[in-house]
């Protein structure tokens, strides 16, 4: 009898080992797919229409992307609200906005990640902070998709769900889900053409005006050395690492604001630090807009503002642990 029990226990442990091995294999397979996804958004030619939805808000954009011998070219056009176009030529990103009926403003802007190029090139953070697994295959924008779920390993981040074109690896839909499995924000192509030739003429801005005002960005943000920071986040939630720190000129503020950026591979959190005299009205509560939470507090005559696409607990813990060195 005892021997039988032992055999049973051993068998169960064996099964558990097998299922763990299967989980690890699935994670490796999923991460390999994600690497393909990260590259596809930059390497492929595609054009389509996608929506960005959070809460009860929705916006629609048209994207055209090519990769040729001269590099990456992309045009993003807002289809609702005031007309805006963003044209990217490799690292240079220009935003075209009508100023009044006859003139147009061209602004140099900075955008590190945008749909469908949402995934980073470095995957260490993702594997450490999220459990990757395959969900049931699905279909989106008329394409057969692999679906990868990135489940958070703790309460400090949201769950991400990615719909990937089976044939090319292009990300077709990306959703962020809260702890109750509710979608709190998502990007989704409603229609997309992948591959083929795209006419270079389609990259010319549509917004045209007689007078063109060029807004050259005179260094609104400059990198800051860590040694010049004099502030620290003492209890950074696990998995988050500092991406950059800068000194930034912000509208309506006479004094430069210190801006620290943290990331866990998928989610990003910003910390803004500024002398309290420049603050017009400190906030008393956590604010939420879709997946984004904001929390503010005052430390040593400075206002600390923490903002990111993370749960409220993450922005609060970061804000509450900021202190002067």
């Amino acid at each position: 009898m005892r021997a039988l029990l032992l055999v049973l226990v051993a068998a169960l442990m064996g099964l558990q080992g097998v299922s763990q091995a299967a989980e690890v294999a699935q994670q490796t397979d999923a991460l390999n797919w994600l690497k393909k996804v990260a590259a596809a958004a930059h390497q492929l030619n595609y054009s389509g229409i996608y929506i960005y939805q959070y809460g009860d808000h929705i916006e629609t954009s048209k994207i055209t992307h090519i990769k040729d011998e001269s590099g990456e070219h992309e045009k993003l056009e807002a289809l609702d609200g005031s007309p805006r176009e963003v044209i990217r030529n490799n690292a240079e990103v220009l935003c075209f906005k009508p100023d009044n009926s006859t003139s147009v403003v061209v602004e140099k802007i900075k955008v590190e990640k945008s749909f469908p190029a949402l995934l980073p090139e470095q995957f260490d953070g993702i594997a450490e902070n999220y459990r990757a697994r395959f969900a049931e295959p699905d279909r989106t924008a008329g394409h057969a998709c692999k679906v990868i779920v990135l489940g958070p390993r703790d309460q400090y981040r949201y769950q991400h769900k990615l719909w990937i074109d089976q044939a090319t690896g292009l990300l077709l839909k990306a959703g962020m889900l809260n702890e109750r499995n509710e979608v709190i924000g998502q990007f989704a192509f409603t229609q997309v053409e992948i591959g083929g030739q795209i006419d270079r003429a389609s990259f010319k801005p549509k917004i045209a005006g007689k007078k063109v005002r060029v807004s050259s960005e005179p260094a609104t943000a400059t990198e800051l050395r860590q040694s010049d920071l004099s502030w620290a986040v003492k209890r950074l939630p696990p998995g988050f690492v500092q991406v950059t720190v800068m000194r930034r000129i912000m509208p309506g503020k006479g004094v430069p604001v210190k801006h620290l950026v943290f990331s866990d591979g998928l989610a990003t959190v910003s910390v803004f630090i500024e002398p309290v005299a420049t603050v017009t009205k400190p906030m008393q509560s956590v604010l939420r807009q879709g997946a984004t939470h904001v929390y503010t507090r005052t430390v040593a005559d400075h206002q600390i503002t923490v903002l990111g696409e993370v749960p409220a607990i993450t922005v609060m813990q970061i804000a509450n642990s900021v202190s002067k060195n």
Partner: protein, 165 residues
């Protein structure tokens, strides 16, 4: 123009070829409208909320009822009405300002609990909204939740290229 030609069609003043052209164009308009409706249906279901006010359909029906009664061939025209109304409603929905929701915290549960959020205390005031949007714009240079830049006031010196400012 189209209206007068349809009127001519109704009066039997057009020859076979002209009549065919009109009917074809009317059918294309209907197909366009169907595509438009489909597109909105997709958007609505993704959003899981109706972008239109609850009495929208009733108001639209009322609007259509006010339209003059027309002869049979002209019934293609009323189909064009909802297209315009929908288009206006859609663009209004898109430009409306997105409010921030203020969350109250249950102090007893403290920070240790994952679900500290207990109630939504209503929308944030306009002044804090403006503040937040400036931070959001700066944050979005690094985050994935990128929206196309809206009306954020950028702290940039604008230079005139053609010197006529």
């Amino acid at each position: 123009m189209m209206e007068s030609r349809i009127s001519a069609l109704a009066d039997g003043e057009l020859d076979h070829e002209e009549a065919n052209a009109i009917l074809l164009s009317a059918r294309e308009q209907m197909e366009l409208q169907q595509k438009w409706n489909m597109y909105h249906l997709i958007g609505d279901s993704l959003r899981q909320t109706s972008p239109l006010s609850p009495d929208f359909n009733a108001r639209l029906a009322g609007q259509l009822a006010k339209e003059p009664t027309v002869l049979a061939p002209r019934r293609f025209l009323p189909h064009l009405r909802p297209l315009m109304v929908l288009s206006a409603a859609a663009s209004v929905a898109a430009v409306s300002l997105v409010a921030w929701v203020a969350l109250q915290f249950n102090h007893e549960s403290g920070l240790g609990a994952a679900n500290t959020v207990v109630a939504e205390a209503g929308t944030a005031s306009a002044s804090s909204e403006i503040n937040v949007n400036a931070y959001l714009a700066a944050h979005q240079e690094y985050s994935q939740a990128v929206q196309l830049p809206r009306n954020y006031q950028r702290a940039s010196l604008e230079k005139s290229r053609d010197g006529d400012r």
